[in-house]
C-alpha cells in the first residue's frame, strides 16, 4: 500500500474520490455506538421529542376516540362529548378540529424542534475534537454529515415511536375514564393507526430537521481543529 503513487491530474479525481469510503453499515454501527456511549445525553435530547410527539398523538387519538363514539350514534354519549369540551357542529359525525388546538400542536412541535436544534448544536461543540480527528484520518464532509443524520434518525425513530405509543395510551386511558369501555369498543382502528403513524412520522421528520444545521456545521469543520490544545 505504501507503494501507491498518485497524481493530481484531473482524470484521477473521480478514482481518488472513490478511494475514501465509509460503508453504510459501518456508519450505522458508529452512529449507534456513539449514541449508546452518550446514553444519558441522547436520552435527554430524545425526551423533548417524546413529549411533543406524545402530546400530538394524545390529541389525535383523543379525536379518533371521540369520532368513534359519535359514530356509535348514541345521543347521551353525544351530550357527554359536548360537555367534555369537544367541538361538535349540529349533527356532524366528526369532532371539529379547532384552530386553537391546531395552534397549540404546531407550537409544541416548534418548541420541540428548537430544543433538538439546541441540544444537537451543543453536541457538535462538544465533539469538535472528535470530528476534527476523524477528518485528519481522512473522513469526508459527507461522512460526518451522514453520521449526525443517522444518529438523529435513530433517536427520532425511537423517540417518536415511544411518544406516539405513550400519547395513544394516555388518550385511551382518558377515554375509558370519561366514557367507560364504550371508548374502546367504538374505537376506529384504521384512523387510530393512521394517527399513530403520522405522529411518529412527524417526530422523525422534526428530529432530522433539528439536526440539519448542526450536522452541516460539524461537516464543514476544519481538521485543524483537532490540534487545538484547550479542552
Amino acid at each position: 500500500m505504501a507503494t501507491q503513487t498518485w497524481s493530481a491530474v484531473p482524470g484521477n479525481r473521480r478514482r481518488v474520490g472513490r478511494q475514501v469510503v465509509l460503508p453504510f453499515g459501518k456508519s450505522v454501527e458508529i452512529a449507534y455506538k456513539s449514541l449508546r456511549v452518550r446514553f444519558f445525553r441522547s436520552l435527554i435530547t430524545t425526551l423533548s421529542l417524546v413529549l411533543a410527539v406524545s402530546f400530538f398523538s394524545y390529541n389525535a387519538v383523543g379525536n379518533d376516540i371521540a369520532d368513534g363514539l359519535l359514530a356509535s350514534g348514541r345521543p347521551e354519549i353525544r351530550q357527554r362529548l359536548i360537555r367534555a369540551g369537544y367541538d361538535i357542529q349540529g349533527d356532524a359525525l366528526r369532532v371539529e378540529r379547532g384552530g386553537k388546538q391546531r395552534w397549540i400542536l404546531v407550537l409544541s412541535l416548534l418548541v420541540c424542534t428548537v430544543g433538538i436544534l439546541n441540544a444537537q448544536l451543543m453536541a457538535v461543540t462538544e465533539r469538535f475534537r472528535e470530528i476534527g480527528t476523524m477528518k485528519c484520518l481522512g473522513a469526508l464532509d459527507r461522512f460526518v454529515l451522514r453520521l449526525f443524520l443517522l444518529e438523529a434518525a435513530m433517536m427520532g425513530f425511537v423517540g417518536s415511536a415511544a411518544g406516539a405509543v405513550i400519547g395513544a395510551l394516555f388518550a385511551l386511558a382518558a377515554g375509558v375514564l370519561r366514557f367507560g369501555t364504550a371508548a374502546l369498543a367504538c374505537l376506529p382502528f384504521a384512523e387510530t393507526a393512521l394517527s399513530l403513524l403520522s405522529a411518529a412520522g412527524i417526530g422523525l421528520a422534526l428530529s432530522l430537521l433539528g439536526v440539519l444545521y448542526p450536522a452541516w456545521v460539524a461537516a464543514r469543520m476544519l481538521p485543524v481543529e483537532a490540534m487545538r490544545v484547550e479542552t
Binding site: W6, R13, F143, L222
Partner: protein
C-alpha cells in the same frame, strides 16, 4: 513485513518540499506574518524535529506540511504534488493514506475501543473489516498494547492512549507521520518511551517522522532539527552538529 517503496532511479527522495512559504493571518485590522518565507526539503525516512518557542510559526509550518492549512504564498509539495492544487476528496485521501497524525492531546475517538480507533482509517481506505481487524491487532501488538485492544480510551493511561494514536497513525502505511508535541501531555519517562517507540517504528518502516516540539528529549533521536524563530528558519542542525552543541541546548529556546 512492510513493503518498502524504493524510489525509482533518478527520482528525488524528498517526500516533503516546502518552497518560499509565507503565511499571513488577519486579526481584525492587524496583519500578523506567521511565516516569512520558509524553504525546506525533507528526505524519505528522515526523523525531523521542528523546534521553536510558541508564537514562532512552528505550528503554522507544521499545519502547512500536513495539508491542514494553506500558505498565503509559496508551495508545499508532498511526493512532488502541490497540495494547494488538491480538491476536498484528494485532501481527504492524502490525510487518509499518506499522512499519519499524532496529537498532543492524543485524540483517541472516545466512543471507540483502541482497536476500533486503529481500524477506522483502514475502513476509510476501503479495506475490508476482517483484514482491518487483523492488521489493527498486529499494529497494537507492535506498540505494546496487544492485550488492551478492547479498552476504551477512558480506561487507558495517557501513554497508552498515545500508543494507540501511533498505531492508528501507521494504519495505512503512510509516508509521513506528523506528530504535534507528541510528548507535551506526558510525564518524562512516558514521553521518553513514546519517543523511543516513534524512533524504532520510523527506522523499521522507513517512515518520515516530522514532529513539532519543544521537548529536548526529542533531539537525541532526530536526524535533523529545524529551529524556527520569528517565522523564519533560524538554523538547521544535523545530528553530528547536535551532539557538539548539546551541552548548551538546554539554555536556549
Amino acid at each position: 513485513m512492510n513493503p518498502e517503496p524504493s524510489p525509482p532511479p533518478g527520482e528525488t527522495a524528498h517526500v516533503v518540499r516546502v518552497s518560499g512559504v509565507t503565511k499571513v493571518f488577519r486579526l481584525g485590522k492587524m496583519e500578523v506574518q506567521a511565516l516569512k518565507g520558509i524553504d525546506l526539503r525533507i528526505a524519505r525516512g528522515e526523523y525531523l524535529s521542528i523546534m521553536g518557542p510558541s508564537g514562532s510559526g512552528k505550528s503554522t509550518l507544521f499545519n502547512m506540511i500536513g495539508g491542514l492549512d494553506k500558505p498565503t504564498s509559496g508551495k508545499v509539495f508532498i511526493d512532488e504534488v502541490d497540495i494547494a492544487q488538491l480538491d476536498a476528496y484528494e485532501l481527504a485521501w492524502l490525510r487518509c493514506r499518506k499522512i499519519g497524525y499524532i496529537f498532543q492531546t492524543f485524540n483517541i475517538i472516545p466512543v471507540m475501543t483502541a482497536l476500533e480507533n486503529v481500524t477506522l482509517p483502514m475502513i476509510f481506505a476501503g479495506m475490508n473489516s476482517d483484514a482491518a481487524v487483523q492488521k489493527g491487532l498486529r499494529l497494537l501488538e507492535q506498540v505494546g498494547l496487544g492485550d488492551r485492544h478492547s479498552h476504551k480510551p477512558s480506561e487507558l493511561s495517557g501513554g497508552q492512549q498515545q500508543r494507540v494514536a501511533i498505531a492508528r497513525a501507521l494504519a495505512n502505511d503512510p509516508a509521513i507521520i506528523l506528530a504535534d508535541e507528541p510528548t507535551g501531555n506526558l510525564d518524562l519517562t512516558t514521553g521518553e518511551e513514546i519517543i523511543q517507540l516513534l524512533k524504532r517504528l520510523s527506522a523499521e518502516r522507513r517512515v518520515t517522522v516530522i514532529s513539532a516540539t519543544h521537548d529536548f528529549k526529542m533531539l537525541n533521536v532526530s536526524d535533523r532539527v529545524v529551529w524556527i524563530r520569528d517565522g523564519r528558519i533560524d538554523r538547521i542542525e544535523d545530528r553530528e552538529q547536535l551532539s557538539i552543541t548539546i551541552g548548551r541546548i538546554g539554555t536556549r529556546t
